[in-house]
Subunit: 401 residues, 2 copies
């Protein structure tokens, strides 16, 4: 009877059917499940393996039967278009895009050190780079009746997930119509991640992938698409995922006064060495690695690295693949959706006992990262893209004398 | 005979036919003429009067007869298209765009304080906002034979000015083809500025206006347009107007390693009060004004102002016109070409004897300005967009006791 009771408890828990996760992941919360990999894994491969890709669910993972799955497309003159998974795969050309997704809260823990913010205490690894394959949202909207008349009034494309809270409210978000229908926007209704069916945590069987746009708009377990004059009315579009001034607190915040985050600002971080690493002086050389990315399809063109707390800077080597023969063909202008990995190997400064390593990236609009966190602090701890700083110690290897 | 000699000298000076300029302008160089207005003029009106608009010539101002003026469009399948000024005005719809132009070197003087750079010592006023009217470059390219076949190979649109150096080399620059032909790019072949014929210093009779893109690509006295696989081979495209790491000096610089500046990063500055102003304590309130703008059509969504050197911040009021009833209809997403003026009126802090006023802007990709200049220092002193800082003194008004 105890066992039956346990099962009952378990089955009344909406999270009980969440999938297994890789044990190396570091959870920030269990219900909903949110987790990031150890940072050094990110620079191990240009494409982040799906099992290590950060998980950011807002609700329980829905169990979706691919055979009975239906996607509804609404708000267009032709009425509702309903598509099965098979329809999505067969009626529309399959496109593959390599795109980095980043959580709005990536690196929130560094902002938290300035002053406590509200949100999951993400480290630097709530970001990943994957190949995504599926139908173009543009193609599906065209099939559903999108045309010149619609451009006169439509402003947003809303997405609703099949993940629901206990009141039945689904996760939702929207993106500007221009991004959705542009030939160069590369927005996908993706059914594959890294060449395989989407994993349950990443939206099986279909998710939206909106390259260059904050993770929160890349709606998973996609159930409904609505073309509209309005943004999504969801909590996450209206009263979350927005940026505010450091002077704005919970008493004064007016969520209507700020736009919903879409494109993210330029970002970079050091994945290795880790904070507090002790480096042996006899090593003589130090290799620093990390990632760099910018939103809106802007390409990272340079990463500067300092070993002396920002007094002097050197330029890191950028990588756009795991192949030795970089550079690859550069992405078309405005469609640089994927991150660059970077590394630099430098002599250990002879006198130093401690190094403050810093990285900062520059994108092709020559936007730079801000120096410090306090001036970009905001009550939700989003958009945390100041320079990444890592302190390491150098130990004198007396044994070699 | 002396008089004749004088006249000969004068006429052998290629700058002798340069136009008169408004005496309030502050020249940075006379030949070529470069000058900016007093900063406080910028916040006097949302549209910068043409006489006060910063001048940045690279060469002598050419004297162009509007009747014999011809624009040549080359590199397209149909061969060379030649247009008179009358053709431009009558064969293509006239479009008007309000757009801010900024010199790549605006605010260079602040970077110069970190370490000497090479370039004109611009203050904060090498920026202005005007209405520009003319034909769309897109329409002219379509008339010249631009079509689907051309998109397969064309990458850049090159512009050549009628201004030439003593060897006969013309000023030149190029922009990416996507910007040139996009319906939303709003690139104009402008023949009017603020409702009148272009002034001589601004490119009479025709200049390119490339909204959202660095001033240097907005070629004046336009003589030739060439659609090409390559960027302009000009000095200014290849070996100037590029950004580098603070660690790069004239011995190590490789101009091929950096992309030509196109879109500019987010920018703002305080136009009033000026550095060193003494404010009477009895005034009780202080009004701070300035401008804010971002490249690439990204809209400025917030300006933060600090009176205490960056410890605390308040949000300024943004203005998109000179009318009292702001906000105006916001520009379409990605087409926010014009600056915002901003202002804030705050009580004088009771204890302070000196204020360090700072402004910083945020655009709708949530890019922010860097805190300080040293980490963005570059040998040409371009892209100088760190926080603007102005120190003022507060004098105690003992007479009122
Ligand atoms: Mo997120
Ligand atoms: Mo410039």
């Amino acid at each position: 009877e105890d066992l039956k009771k346990q099962r009952d408890v378990k089955s009344s828990d909406p999270y009980s059917s969440d999938p297994e996760r890789h044990p190396v992941l570091r959870p920030n919360s269990l219900k909903p499940f949110t987790a990031e990999p150890p940072p050094e894994i990110l620079s191990d491969s240009y494409i982040t393996p799906s099992v290590f890709f950060f998980k950011r669910n807002h609700l329980p993972v829905p169990q979706v039967d691919p055979a009975s799955y239906r996607l509804h497309v609404e708000g267009l003159p032709g009425g509702v278009l309903t598509l099965s998974l098979e329809d999505l795969k067969t009626r529309f050309p399959k496109h593959t895009v390599t795109a980095t997704l980043q959580c709005a809260g990536n690196r929130r823990s560094e902002m938290n050190k300035v002053r406590q913010v509200k949100g999951l205490n993400w480290g630097i690894a709530a970001i990943g780079n994957a190949t995504w394959s599926g139908a173009k949202l543009r193609d599906v909207l065209l099939a559903a009746g999108y045309g010149p008349d619609v451009t006169q009034w439509a402003r947003h494309v809303q997405f609703e997930g099949l993940d629901k809270d206990i009141t039945g409210t689904a996760y939702g978000a929207s993106i500007p119509i221009g991004k959705a229908v542009s030939e160069d926007g590369d927005v996908l209704l993706a059914y594959e991640m890294n060449g395989e069916d989407l994993p349950a945590d990443h939206g099986f069987p279909v998710r939206v992938v909106v390259p260059g746009i904050v993770g929160a708009r890349n709606v998973k377990w996609l159930g409904k698409i609505t073309v509209s004059t309005e943004e999504s009315s969801s909590h996450w579009q209206q009263n979350d995922y927005k940026g505010f001034s450091p002077g704005t607190d919970w008493d004064t915040v007016d969520y209507k006064s700020a736009p919903a985050i879409q494109e993210l600002p330029v970002q970079s971080a050091i994945t290795t060495p880790a904070e507090g690493t002790v480096i042996d002086r006899s090593a003589e050389m130090l290799t620093v690695k990390g990632y760099a990315w910018s939103g809106g399809g802007r390409e990272v063109i340079r990463v500067d690295v300092s070993l002396d707390g920002g007094k002097t800077w050197q330029v890191a080597q950028l990588k756009s693949s795991d192949k030795e023969e970089d550079p690859q063909t550069p992405p078309p202008l405005g469609r640089a959706w994927a991150w660059k990995l970077w590394e630099i190997t430098v002599p250990l400064p002879p006198e130093a006992q401690e190094l403050e390593i810093i990285c900062k990236a520059v994108d092709n609009s020559y936007n730079m990262q801000p120096d410090t966190f306090a001036p970009i602090w905001n009550l939700r701890g989003v958009l945390s893209n100041a320079w990444h700083r890592v302190k390491v110690k150098i130990s004198e290897d007396n044994g070699e004398e």
